[in-house]
């Protein structure tokens, strides 16, 4: 769970982003530093068709691919539309705004940075019922804690 002392920002673009744009944006943002946690939100791109007459068939999608952020490989599972960041302190927010403007300067649509509270601060009753008492509180509310692959840790930003 997040601690209320850490500020959070949300990067929202007017269009869903292509993986190469996400890669460029994330690499630019981590140069700013001061990021504790990050979550990529968007529409799910499942590996197989989840329902309907074609259920179970493979669902190849060009946007479902691995991108390289810092020294780590990140497998995208969504079409990224929103990026939520938890920062060390508020002093990083203007620099993040500049980084976003820089990446989107040559695009014909806009992207905004909003400050607010976007991560869960305490588990709900439903979380308890779904994931039990031992769920990893670091990622609760961001991703499904039952997923076997844990978070990607990008090092060397400090």
């Amino acid at each position: 769970m997040t601690d209320a002392i850490y500020p959070q920002v949300r990067i929202v673009s007017a269009r869903f982003l292509r993986p190469d744009t996400v890669e460029r944006l994330l690499n630019r943002i981590i140069q700013v530093g001061g990021i504790r946690r990050m979550s990529l939100n968007g529409q799910n791109l499942p590996a197989t068709v989840p329902y309907g007459p074609a259920r179970g068939k493979p669902n190849p999608h060009p946007d479902r691919k691995a991108i390289r952020v810092g020294d780590q490989e990140v497998q995208l599972r969504v079409q990224v539309g929103t990026i939520i960041l938890e920062l060390e302190d508020e002093s990083y927010i203007p620099a993040i705004g500049e980084a976003v403007d820089e990446v989107f300067a040559d695009k014909d649509f806009s992207c905004i940075v909003q400050k607010g509270r976007y991560m869960k601060t305490q588990p709900t009753l439903s979380d308890y019922a779904k994931y039990g008492p031992d769920a990893d509180s670091e990622i609760l509310g961001l991703v499904d804690p039952r997923r076997k692959d844990g978070p990607v840790i990008i090092q060397g930003t400090k």
Partner: protein, 253 residues
């Protein structure tokens, strides 16, 4: 004086586009030329060139009961041959797609025979005999009712009409049935339920923003024609709302 349908209220451009689509006397602008075979591939109900499977023997071969209605109504080609009932379903983006579910249903009811449309918030399905369906689908796909980027032919997993567009201007589709190629042409690589096709079916270039805004049937307060600007439309809707409400409480008024 003979009754002349008005098709809809409104003084705005959007209202005029709606009337144009609904009025069967107005010819819809032809935008692209998708062949019969390609349409059969996108629909995915039968293999191209295969015979139409039937649900019952042709009408000419079976004994019809003596029914006055059957004497008045001429059966459509599909009904005459006893075809199965099959469907086509569309999802239209809220970002100035040329049509939208309610509009599609009105348009089809005015223009086509022997159909059963189903209207939902984000998708519109039309069911009819297979032979008729292919004829109607050709009209729905080849005319200005469809934009390759902002309209999706989606039998299942329709989600996307209310979402942001992708960076290249395509409406979100979890199954990525249509792909915008490097040459700017949209191709269907899967049929409407998401099964891969043997070959990609091109359906043309996406229409530009200016054309879409001039031909849309969707009121949109961000960048388009706001609903509030069309006073006549509002007056008409308020009148129907008032009459419905009053009738519920005071049927004599």
């Amino acid at each position: 004086m003979a009754y002349k349908p008005q098709y809809g209220p409104g003084t705005s451009n959007v209202a005029a586009n709606r009337r144009k689509q609904m009025d069967p006397n107005q010819k819809l602008e032809k935008m692209r030329d998708v062949t019969d075979e390609d349409i059969v591939l996108i629909l995915g109900h039968r293999a191209p060139g295969a015979a139409y499977p039937t649900a019952h023997p042709p009408l000419a071969e079976q004994q019809e009961p003596d029914c006055p209605i059957r004497k008045i109504v001429t059966p459509t080609d599909g009904a005459k041959a006893g075809d199965r009932i099959r469907y086509i379903q569309f999802a239209d983006s809220m970002f100035f797609a040329p049509s939208q579910p309610y509009q599609r249903t009105y348009t089809e009811c005015y223009r086509f025979r022997g159909i059963d449309p189903g209207t939902l918030s984000g998708r519109q399905i039309v069911e009819c005999r297979e032979r008729d369906l292919e004829k109607y689908s050709k009209e729905l796909i080849n005319t200005e009712l469809l934009d390759p980027a902002r309209t999706g032919i989606r039998g299942a997993t329709v989600h996307g009409h209310s979402l942001r567009l992708a960076e290249n201007g395509m409406m979100f589709d979890m199954l990525q049935r249509s792909v915008l190629g490097e040459d700017g042409i949209v191709r269907y690589v899967k049929n409407q339920i998401g099964e891969p096709l043997d070959r990609a079916v091109p359906i043309g270039k996406p229409l530009d923003e200016k054309w879409l805004k001039a031909h849309t049937t969707i009121f949109h307060s961000l960048g388009g024609t706001p609903y509030r600007d069309d006073a006549e439309y509002i007056e008409y809707v308020q009148r129907i709302h008032t009459l419905r409400t009053k009738y519920g409480f005071l049927p004599m008024e």
